[in-house]
Every structure is written in structure tokens, then in C-alpha cells.
Amino acid sequence: MAFDGRTVFDSLSCAFPRGRITVVLGGSGSGKSTLLRLIGGLIQPEAGRVEVAGHDVTDPHTSLAEVRSRIGMLFQHGALLDSLSVFDNLALPLREHTDLDRAAIAQAVRAQLDAVGLGNVEGLLPGQLSGGMLRRAALARAIIRSPEILLCDEPFSGLDPASLKRIEILLTRINRQRGITLIVVSHHIASTLRLADQALLLLPGRSVCGPPAALRSSSDPEVADFFDEELDVEALDREERAAT
């Protein structure tokens, strides 16, 4: 798969099992977010196929609206509309795509906000929320239409440990209680190991897929290097010298 003249993935073939949590790992620029955008049909690959629940999203005849009604997406910065209150942000997909009346929408929005532990912020604008609250509000919006698949782009980035833990718990709960398939892009190794049923590691030119524990103890040097959390200054020096 190539994107924007730049080849991001040469050959990536991976299945994301239904009802499980798959974490996509990889360094910066390895194409993790690109992968999510491909699944959501936000960008088209130059070559290759992306199939979501039996629909090929790279096929122009596929109804993206149909596919996207089954997908929720949690963006890195929340992507709530700045000009709307939290309540209106959550209500927007319901107003657009359901025939629910005002009361039913209000009830659904409040239920969803309660589920992510945000009781009294519905009148605030997204800009008035803290990072952790914003992430949870965005999560509530992503699942308000009860999707089958939830795509999460860097859900743990830029959060304090308490908020991070809370998001982890919420994601786990969403997966367990509602049976939603999760595809989580992250480079947060600790969370991945706690969360993932399956991990997909994107490396330059190839990818490795398997249970996170297996990946961690892999003998593959590049994989081992990715999971190696020690600060190996000398190794980096050697690498840079080799490059020059």
C-alpha cells in the first residue's frame, strides 16, 4: 500500500478478529494512523483491498455510509466540533441518522456521558474540557450509535496516568460488555500489553502479528528492539554512525 507518493506499507495483510482488541504498534511515521484511516475509508490505497465486515471500502460502489454506520472512531485530539457543546456533539450523529425525538436523544446522550463518567459537562464547549475529559467525551460520541467496530487513534497519548488508566478501563469495558471489536493504534507498550488480545507491529517494510506476549518475547531483532525499553545510548550512536 502506498499513500501520497510515499510507500507506507509494502505488503500488509492482517485480519482483525471480531469481538477482540487488536493493538497496532509501530514507531512514528510507520503508518499506524494511516491504517485506521484506510479502514474508515477516509483515504484510498493505491493498491490493495480493505474489507470491513464483508464490505470492500476501497470499492467505489460500496456505500461508505453503510460501512461507517458500523464503525465508531475515536480521534487523537477528540475531533469534537469546537462550535458545539458536548451535548450537541454527542447528539449530532443521532440527529443526523436516527428518527429519535428530542427526549430520546437527550436520554441517549446522558446515558452515554454517564457511561464514560462525565455527568455534568454536557453544556460545556469541548475547549473547556481537560484532556482526559475531552478524550472520554469523544469516546462517548464514537460509540453513541452502537458500532460493531471502534477505531481508536492514539487513545493514550498526552494523558496523565489516572486519565490513562480510566480510558484503558473504559475501552476494556466497551469491548467486554458490548462485544465491540477494537482496533487501537498506540505506541504505548504498557497499555498494549494489558489491553490487547492481538498485537500488530508495523516495522519498516513489513509487519508482525501475534499475541502481545509472544511479540514481546520474540527473537526477531527488530521486534525485540521495539519492545526494549532500556535507554541504549551506545546502540543509537552506533546506528547513527552507520547511517552516515
Binding site: R37, G40, L42, L64, A65, R68, S69, I71, G72, M73, F75, Q76, H77, G78, A79, L80, L81, D82, L92, P93, E96, H97, R145
Partner: protein, 262 residues
């Protein structure tokens, strides 16, 4: 740079300009389509009338009044030398209605509302808000771009009228109030010089076209901004620059083609 590289660079740029024009045309078609094909969003349209129109009122009114005062003063001082100060109304009225009204209003609105539109849309691109809408199967063209672009076309003639009226008021204030010109002379000279079909008609034709240009360029630049902070500021700046140049050049052609009668 070698000659070959120069030619290549020129060709590359020319192709890019043509491609950009083509993409603007497609953009125009898609927002016009979004504006007429359901779901229609009257509430969003009203919001944008407020954002683009109401919030530009003060700057348009104050600038119009100031421009009218200057025209009144300069016009009076020049005309009085020929004993023709009775034509002040005609001079001010024709300059405001034919040229200054539509052009200056378009420039002011671009600076106030066009830049804000570009900044808002480009920051929505940067923070993935437009992608967020797409993932909810809400077309950003429909909910973000079309209301802004259409509202711009709609508010421009209104703001232009207010600018012209404020300008006439300013000139009246100077000519009649300060210089002691007879009010009747001023008003009759104004009324007899401005013709409905070509002067007023031309004024609104210009205002509509400038509104379209301002709305199109602001939304287009915002929508196609590079998703970074620098991209937001580049989109904002280029909106103001490109719209201003387009309005000034467009004004020449509209004036020439419309053929105002002397």
C-alpha cells in the same frame, strides 16, 4: 538555475495553477450541490449569516462612513474650484455605488469574515474535525462549507448597501453639515445621477460576484489547508491575499463588461 530547469519550473507552476482552478470549480459544484440537495440546514445558514454578516456590521458601517466623509471633503474642495460643488452628491454617489461600495466592502469582509472562515475550517482540518464528521457520515461540505459559502454570497449585497448608505451619510454630513451645501442640491444631484438599471444593478451584480469569490476562496483555502498550525496561518493569509487580488482584478473586468453609462 539552468534554462531547462527554469522552463520546467515554469511549466510545473502553470500546470499547478490550472489544476487548482479545476479543483476550485469542482469544489464550487460540490458546495452548490450540497446547498440545494437535502438535508438542507437552515439553522447552519442562519448561524453563518450571524457570523459573517452581523459581526461585520460595525467595521463596514464605520469604514463606509469614514470613506464617505473623505469623499465628501475631497470632492467638495475640488468641485468648489469650478463652482460645481452642487454636483457633490453625484460625485460621491457614483463613486460609492459603482466602485467603492462593492470593492471596499468585499475587501473589508474578506479581512474580517473571510479570514475567520478560512481559519475556522483549516483548524477543523488540522484537528480532524472534518474527518470526524465524515466518519459519522455527515458531509463536511453540507454542514461546514456550503452554509458559509452561501451565506457569504447572501450577506455581501446587504453589507454593500449598508456601506454605501453609511458613505452617503458621511458625505452628507461633511457636504451639508460642515460645508453648508444645500441639502436639496446634494440630494437631487445624487438622485439624478444614479440610475437604477446600470448603477444600482451593477453594484449588486458586483457585490454578488465578490461575495461568491470571497466565500469560495475562504472555504476552499480552509478546506485544502495543510493539517498543521502553519497550514492554518498559511490558509488564512492566502485567503485574504487571493481574495483581495481577485476582487480588484474582477472589478476591472466587471466594470468594463457591464459598461456603465457616463
Amino acid at each position: 538555475m539552468t534554462p531547462v530547469a527554469l522552463v520546467r519550473e515554469l511549466g510545473f507552476r502553470a500546470i499547478r495553477v490550472v489544476a487548482e482552478l479545476g479543483s476550485m470549480l469542482l469544489f464550487t459544484l460540490s458546495f452548490l450541490r450540497a446547498a440545494v440537495v437535502p438535508p438542507l440546514r437552515p439553522q447552519r445558514f442562519v448561524d453563518e449569516i450571524y457570523n459573517l454578516g452581523v459581526l461585520s456590521l460595525v467595521i463596514v458601517g464605520v469604514s463606509g462612513f469614514a470613506v464617505g466623509m473623505v469623499l465628501g471633503l475631497q470632492g467638495y474642495n475640488t468641485l468648489v474650484r469650478f463652482g460645481a460643488e452642487g454636483s457633490l452628491g453625484a460625485v460621491v454617489g457614483l463613486s460609492l455605488v459603482r466602485e467603492l461600495g462593492p470593492v471596499l466592502t468585499a475587501l473589508l469582509v474578506t479581512g474580517r469574515a473571510g479570514s475567520a472562515t478560512a481559519a475556522e475550517i483549516s483548524s477543523m482540518v488540522t484537528s480532524e474535525q472534518l474527518d470526524g464528521l465524515r466518519m459519522m457520515s455527515v458531509d463536511p461540505m453540507d454542514i461546514v462549507v456550503a452554509p458559509k459559502a452561501i451565506a457569504m454570497i447572501f450577506v455581501m449585497p446587504i453589507l454593500t448597501s449598508l456601506f454605501v448608505l453609511a458613505g452617503l451619510l458621511g458625505a452628507y454630513f461633511i457636504g451639508v453639515g460642515l460645508m453648508g451645501l444645500d441639502a436639496g442640491v446634494f440630494l437631487s444631484s445624487l438622485k439624478s445621477s444614479i440610475r437604477f438599471a446600470d448603477d444600482i444593478g451593477g453594484c449588486y451584480l458586483k457585490a454578488l460576484i465578490f461575495g461568491f469569490l470571497a466565500g469560495l476562496i475562504a472555504t476552499f483555502r480552509g478546506y485544502h489547508a495543510t493539517p498543521t498550525a502553519a497550514g492554518v496561518s498559511a490558509a488564512t493569509t492566502s485567503t485574504v491575499v487571493v481574495t483581495s487580488v481577485a476582487v480588484l482584478i474582477g472589478d476591472y473586468f466587471l466594470t468594463a463588461l457591464w459598461g456603465f453609462q457616463i
